[in-house]
């Protein structure tokens, strides 16, 4: 049991799926522009991911901020590790670092629009 009961649930989620996005809304219907951007980036890279809608779970919505020591949502996790929020994901996508990060973690990238 960790210091915060919801931490156990969060840890299970990020350990059970290789790529997890804590977001507002769902991957099909994001309810926040920043969450939508992250979904768009992951889709462009053909990365399957689990979206967790924090709007449906107030405990996770607050808990995830302490879990990662990051005060905003969305939050992307790869192989259980926090990678960043929308700004970082976008930056890493633009510089190619995100693809590299997925490759390093053994997650296959399938570009939607290969050059």
């Amino acid at each position: 049991m960790s210091e915060h009961p919801v931490f156990d649930r969060i840890k299970t989620e990020v350990d059970d799926s290789p790529v997890v996005l804590f977001m507002k809304g769902t991957p099909v219907f994001p309810q926040c522009g920043f969450s939508a951007t992250c979904v768009q980036v992951l889709s462009n890279l053909g990365i399957p991911f689990k979206g967790i809608n924090v709007l449906e779970d107030p405990e996770v919505r607050e808990g995830i901020k302490s879990y990662s020591n990051w005060p905003t949502i969305p939050q992307l996790y790869v192989k259980g590790e926090f990678v960043g929020g929308c700004d970082i994901i976008r930056e890493m996508y633009e510089t190619g670092e995100l693809i590299e990060h997925f490759n390093t973690n053994g997650i296959e990238v399938q570009l939607a629009n290969p050059q």
């Binding site: 522009g33 920043f34 020591n69 990051w70 005060p71 905003t72 700004d87 970082i88």
Partner: protein, 86 residues
């Protein structure tokens, strides 16, 4: 003092930035959840400071979030951050 001025003052004090932009993007979000009619809810900040040298992206953004924790807990609904070393 407006929210934007407070953000600017705190970032100047914390990071002695070489360049600093505080952009109020609230008008882009008018009518959305978290927006208020009087504005000053959605900001983008771009900070260049030597304080960010040798820090990861996550750490750099955390430093900015920490500096603006009062604003984030209060009037600011969304804060987009670009924090870079010179």
């Amino acid at each position: 003092m407006s929210v934007a001025q407070n953000i600017e003052r705190k970032l100047n004090e914390a990071f002695a930035p070489l360049s600093l932009l505080v952009i109020d993007e609230s008008h882009l979000h008018a009518g959305h959840v978290g927006a208020r009619p009087e504005g000053e809810t959605h900001f983008r900040v771009e900070v260049v400071s030597a304080a960010f040298a040798d820090c990861s992206r996550v750490d750099r953004q955390r430093m900015v979030y920490d500096t603006l924790s009062e604003e984030l807990a209060g009037p600011v609904h969304a804060l987009s951050v670009l924090a870079s070393p010179p």
